[in-house]
């Protein structure tokens, strides 16, 4: 696109035609503050934090949506601009619950940091009537506190546009406007998929996961409990951000050492059970291909996706792999195989998982996820909760050794397990195993690069043992919806589909460290974090799940074959059709 010449604060710049003032200023290293703006999905110019002066324009303009024009003169920090931003912040504060001391977002809140930036000293000058909202803690994974909501609608945008779910939105109007569900239903009564993307984009403390850190600290202190922890692949790609490290720096070693320092009895790796998942899922795929089973087979690692499918496409349930997710497989094996080996009663084991995900909190309570008569997993914590634990335990994370080794026997993993966290990773891992099993030959190149990258929908066809296998990989449930509709209409004929609930896969999960919109809008976080995982994969001496010696031993000593009776009892699960809304009876008053 052609360039236009504009002046920002009297300095001339050439910027691409069609950019917004916000983008143009960014190129000039001026970071105009925003609150409501989320690139591509929430460009509504509503919060008016990004206002700037444009010579000749009638009033202040919202730079996030205002396109540049040749000869335009922009002023980004005049007194008029700053006064306006200050007033906007003070107005937002007039109905805001300002109890920052007890707020989960204190220190990382975008509203708070803007108030400091603009030196807001009088935070109550516009105080008047304050709406009082009840907290919605109905869902297992999050709490909504509308007393801290600034109505930016970022949560609404991700829910509707990225996830195709749309169970939250603005209700009522004017002063009564509030973000909630239809007919003021509790979130738990809607078809919310628990992905937590709304939490990830909330600028304030209005949305937060349900915190289980105290329960885990308590379990660790209990001498009668054997507390073991498993960590999902993506956690090591994100955790460093919580300690001020750049995005995309892998911190596997520091993470292992921090978990040991926290006092977990054993530190295991979900990558191990990711390898196990591949063994079962590749086997399931081969069985379905060879025995005329339901195709396409669709992956089942992502509990948000599973819940989405159960609400929105229950007719596709027979296509879902019956494999439990790696988190749940891990718990089932820990409380059987490991318990037996270690001579510990499964009832005395507390299985904690660290996940980039909030839907994992929902998954642990699902039916058919307690293979040993006790829940497979007891607590599912997000990456953010782990960071909170590390900080609360006063551990100097940045100084921990970079070398660290997981405990045996559930700690060894392959490169295939590591890449589970990136969109396309599960498929690639499954192909590494399925192709070798089907052809009986060793793969020359284990990297299936066609299905890498952060595109929402990716396709590839591989010729395996004489059969063209059509693959689809998608992430973000809005994309999953598109793919399923194409499958149903017959437009596409896939054999194997990987679906991840969150855009970009687990590295961008709803439980990952929060990055402010200022970063989100200009940096591809998911690509950077995914790279950390692909780098780890490259470093691993073994890169195929079926070559993991501990997995081989697990089958030899305990499970028998993939898909065996025992494997089915422990590692597979079932799904149910879920209604879109639970019995909606209460009709609220409209003001």
């Amino acid at each position: 696109m052609a360039d236009v010449t504009i002046k920002i604060n009297n300095v001339e710049y050439q910027v691409p035609e069609g950019s917004t003032i916000l983008e143009a200023a960014r190129m000039a290293n001026i970071h105009i503050p925003t609150l409501c703006f989320l690139k591509d999905i929430n460009e509504i110019g509503a919060c008016r934090m990004c206002v700037v002066e444009v010579k000749g324009a009638k009033g202040l303009v919202t730079s996030c949506v205002y396109p540049v024009a040749d000869g335009m003169e922009v002023f980004t920090h005049t007194k008029r601009v700053i006064d306006s931003r200050v007033k906007n912040l003070q107005l937002l504060l007039s109905t805001h619950n300002r109890e920052c001391l007890s707020c989960v977002r204190s220190g990382s809140c975008e509203l708070q940091s803007l108030c400091r930036l603009y030196d807001i000293r009088e935070d109550s000058i516009y105080d008047g009537e304050k709406p009082k909202y009840e907290l919605d803690g109905s869902a297992v994974h999050l709490v909504r506190d509308n007393n801290k909501c600034i109505l930016c609608r970022r949560c609404v945008a991700v829910c509707e546009k990225n996830q195709g779910v749309g169970v939250i939105g603005p209700n009522e109007r004017g002063f009564a406007t509030n973000i909630g569900s239809a007919f003021n239903m509790k979130l738990a009564d809607t078809s919310c998929v628990c992905c937590g993307q709304c939490i990830a984009v909330c600028p304030t403390g209005a949305l937060a996961e349900k915190d289980n850190t105290i329960e885990v600290f308590t379990a660790i202190e209990d001498p009668t409990k054997h507390v073991i922890v498993q960590v999902a692949p993506s956690v090591r790609a994100g955790l460093g951000e919580e300690f001020g490290m750049p995005i995309g720096v892998g911190v596997e070693g520091q993470m292992i050492n921090a978990l040991r320092a926290l006092g977990f009895d054993k530190v295991f790796d979900t990558n191990f059970s990711a390898d196990l998942t591949i063994m079962e899922e590749a086997n399931e795929f081969i069985q379905r291909v060879q025995n005329g089973g339901k195709l396409p087979l669709i992956t089942s690692c992502s509990p948000g996706w599973i819940k989405y499918c159960e609400h929105y496409h229950p007719d596709m349930i027979p296509h879902l792999s019956s494999c439990k997710s790696p988190q749940q497989m891990f718990g089932a094996i820990a409380k059987s195989y490991y318990a037996e080996k270690a001579g510990i009663d499964p009832k005395d084991i507390v299985m904690v998982s660290i996940m980039p995900c909030t839907a994992k909190k929902f998954e642990i309570g699902r039916d058919d996820q307690a293979a040993n008569g006790v829940p497979d997993v007891d607590y599912a914590l997000t990456t953010r909760e782990l960071a909170r634990m590390i900080k609360r335990a006063n551990i100097d994370f940045l100084k921990l050794p970079k070398e660290g080794v997981f405990d045996d026997p559930l700690g060894k993993s392959t490169g295939a397990g590591v890449i589970f966290g990136a969109t396309g990773g599960v498929m690639e891992a499954a192909l590494r195993t399925a192709v070798e099993k089907l052809t009986g030959k060793e793969l020359e190149n284990v990297e299936f690069t066609e299905i890498r990258g952060t595109d929402g929908i990716k396709e590839a066809t591989y010729n395996v043992a004489g059969m063209d296998v059509n693959i689809c990989v998608c992430s973000g449930t809005a994309n999953a919806n598109k793919v399923l509709n194409m499958v149903k209409s017959g437009e596409k004929n896939y054999h194997f589909i990987e679906v991840m609930c969150c855009p970009g896969g687990c590295v961008n999960g709803g439980g990952q460290p929060k990055q402010p919109a200022e970063v989100r809008n200009f940096v591809d976080i998911k690509a950077l974090r995914a790279k950390a995982l692909y780098d780890l994969d490259k470093e691993r001496p073994i890169r195929k799940s079926h070559e993991n010696p501990d997995i081989i031993a697990l089958y030899d000593d305990f499970l028998g074959e993939p898909g065996s009776h025992k494997a089915h009892a422990l590692l597979h699960t079932s799904y149910i059709t879920r209604p879109m809304y639970n019995d909606p009876k209460s009709h609220p008053v409209k003001k």
């Binding site: 509707e160 779910v165 749309g166 169970v167 939250i168 939105g169 603005p170 209700n171 009522e172 109007r173 569900s181 239809a182 007919f183 003021n184 809607t190 879109m580 809304y581 909606p584 009876k585 209460s586 009709h587 609220p588 008053v589 409209k590 003001k591």
Partner: protein, 164 residues
């Protein structure tokens, strides 16, 4: 936001359902279909209960929340049916200073409904309105076409009783 104490049971009939489906089919492919469909759905049913909103959500493939957001945004749309007797209390300036708020409170108590709602037997619905141009009679309320001026809160039960 309080939940209604009384929920008027929804009665569907196949003819209405068919008409609604016809409207949905007509607008389905159009951009900006939601508001005309809701307007016409309200013409059919008189209000937009959850059952109707769900049918529109399904028909237009729009999340129910989006529809509810629109319905609660525009005062034109009703979540509750209108009663045989539609009561309207003026909250315009003159009526307000003459105590129409207390009249409204008394109506709410007598009928056990909130403004915007309808009694379960569908006999009374309660709304507020702005100036009806009868300031000299403030506070004023309307029951269908009957105008009541200089209403005292204490008179409310008696007035209602006339219609029961």
């Amino acid at each position: 936001m309080k939940a209604a104490q009384n929920i008027v049971p929804f009665s569907n009939d196949p003819a209405k359902e068919e008409r609604l489906q016809g409207i949905i089919d007509k607008y389905k492919e159009e951009k900006g279909a939601l508001i005309p469909v809701l307007q016409q759905a309200q013409d059919i049913y008189g209000y937009l209960p959850i059952e109707v909103q769900m049918a529109v959500a399904k028909g237009l493939d729009v999340p129910l929340e989006k529809i509810y957001g629109v319905v609660t945004f525009y005062s034109f749309f009703n979540l509750y049916p209108k009663g045989n007797y539609q009561i309207s209390v003026c909250l315009g300036t003159a009526c307000y200073v003459k105590g129409s708020r207390k009249v409204l409170d008394c109506l709410q108590e007598t009928l056990n409904i909130e403004p915007g709602q309808c009694t379960t037997d569908r006999s009374f619905s309660l709304d507020t309105c702005r100036c009806i141009g009868a300031c000299g009679l403030a506070p004023v309320m309307l029951i269908n076409d009957d105008v009541y001026g200089r209403v005292l809160p204490a008179e409310v039960p008696e007035i209602i009783a006339k219609y029961q």
